[in-house]
């Protein structure tokens, strides 16, 4: 019962927030790898590229699945989640076409209320109502403020840790 990552995409199909909750193992390389034309890529830049690529992949997957569900189930059908053997992806779309995507371990139940609460109590309170945040979060500007980050961290701790404590 653990959470792996969390993404927020806005209506311009851009990733405005992404957060990883697990430690990705940094590959134990002694030398930085080289591209085909011989230039070297520093590991930090490569990791950043990988993160943005992951976000794009997630968005593409979610967009195509949502379209598929609309096609099959009718206009009012909502794609809720999908599960593989390694992870489960939960999806919530707000009326302003803001998309919240949460990736957790596969045994987790329905996270729709959790996503809705994140949106209502964290995003709306700390991002939308913030006087310093712009209305359009191009490139994630204005979303990653401290209140939102800390609040999200505490919220995830509250949702996912108590199960582990109860098991002990």
């Amino acid at each position: 019962m653990s959470v792996y990552s969390f993404y927020i995409f806005d209506r311009h199909t851009e990733c405005i927030y992404s957060r990883r909750f697990t430690q990705q193992p940094s590959p134990p390389r002694t030398t930085s790898s080289t591209l085909r034309n011989g230039t070297t890529v520093p590991p930090s830049l490569r990791q950043a590229n990988k993160d943005s690529d992951d976000a794009k992949l997630v968005f593409g997957t979610v967009f195509s699945l949502r379209r598929m569900c609309r096609q099959l189930g009718g206009v009012d059908d909502q794609f809720l989640s999908y599960r593989t053997a390694e992870y489960k992806l939960h999806y919530l779309e707000t009326p302003t076409q803001l998309r919240l995507v949460l990736l957790t371990s596969p045994q987790v139940g329905n996270m729709r209320t959790v996503l809705h609460q994140i949106w209502a109590t964290l995003f709306v309170e700390y991002v939308v109502k913030s006087p310093l945040a712009p209305t359009e979060h191009t490139g994630g500007k204005g979303v990653g403020n401290e209140l939102f980050e800390v609040g999200l961290e505490r919220f995830m701790e509250a949702v996912f840790r108590p199960q582990q404590q109860q098991q002990q």
Partner: protein, 235 residues
């Protein structure tokens, strides 16, 4: 399909192929039954009873079955009950291709951390996120460049197994040969993995063993149609 009943033992050799919740029914019914007709009649009665024990509006039903071959082409499509939007054959083809692609992508966005390495050989030690963008990523690492990590093997990740939406649930079973079975059911339908495996068994029995069926081609086998209809359509 109908086999001789074991009388007095309390367990059944077979049950009507369309009883999806027959596993539960098996525990309910016991005792000796004199004739097949009685068995069928009482089983259907118990089936209705078990279905109605749920909420009055919950209907567990299978909407459609789609089979996708290794390359992503649709080779079988059949709807059994209304509930999904009417799509023409072209739309189903596009859907199958789209799902095939999404299935492959969902294998690569695996965010799970790798399992802790085992002690000696550490054959499971590998990176959790596999690279899927060959153009921007570096070429694969040279093996044995670091101590204690002989080869970097990608973990065996699976794709989408089940997809939940508000009107239907999609269960995807991928056979070891790469053939995908997509089963569209109502969200309350239990045991969808059992149902899809049964469809896979029927595929093996009626399609694979058919000497006139060419691999990866659309399935036009009448026995398969009848078997699947008998199993998935509720009377």
């Amino acid at each position: 399909m109908w086999r001789k009943l074991k009388t007095g033992s309390g367990c059944f050799a077979s049950f009507p192929p369309h009883s999806l919740i027959a596993a539960g029914v098996q525990n309910v019914l016991h005792g000796t039954w004199g004739s097949r007709y009685e068995l069928h009649y009482s089983l259907t009665q118990h089936l209705d009873l078990l279905v109605r024990q749920g909420s009055p509006t919950s209907i567990m039903v299978v909407f459609a079955l789609l089979i996708i071959n290794k390359a992503g082409g649709l080779i079988y499509t059949r709807t059994f009950a209304p509930g999904l939007q009417k799509l023409d054959s072209n739309d189903y083809l596009i859907l199958a291709g789209t799902f095939h692609g999404i299935h492959a992508i969902s294998r690569s966005i695996n965010p799970a951390p790798p399992p802790p390495p085992s002690s000696a050989t550490s054959s499971n030690l590998s990176s959790s996120t596999t690279t899927s963008q060959p153009t921007t990523q570096a070429p694969p690492q040279p093996p044995s460049s670091t101590a204690g990590n002989p080869t970097r093997r990608r973990p065996h990740t699976t794709g989408i197994e089940s997809l939940e939406s508000s009107h239907f649930r999609l269960t995807c079973f991928q056979s070891p040969t790469g053939v995908k079975f997509l089963l569209f059911t109502s969200p309350e339908q239990p045991n969808t993995d059992v149902v899809v495996r049964r469809c896979y068994e029927m595929y093996g029995d009626y399609v694979m063993k058919n000497p006139f069926y060419s691999l990866e081609m659309p399935i036009r086998v009448e026995k398969f149609d009848r078997g699947v209809a008998g199993y998935l359509v509720r009377p």
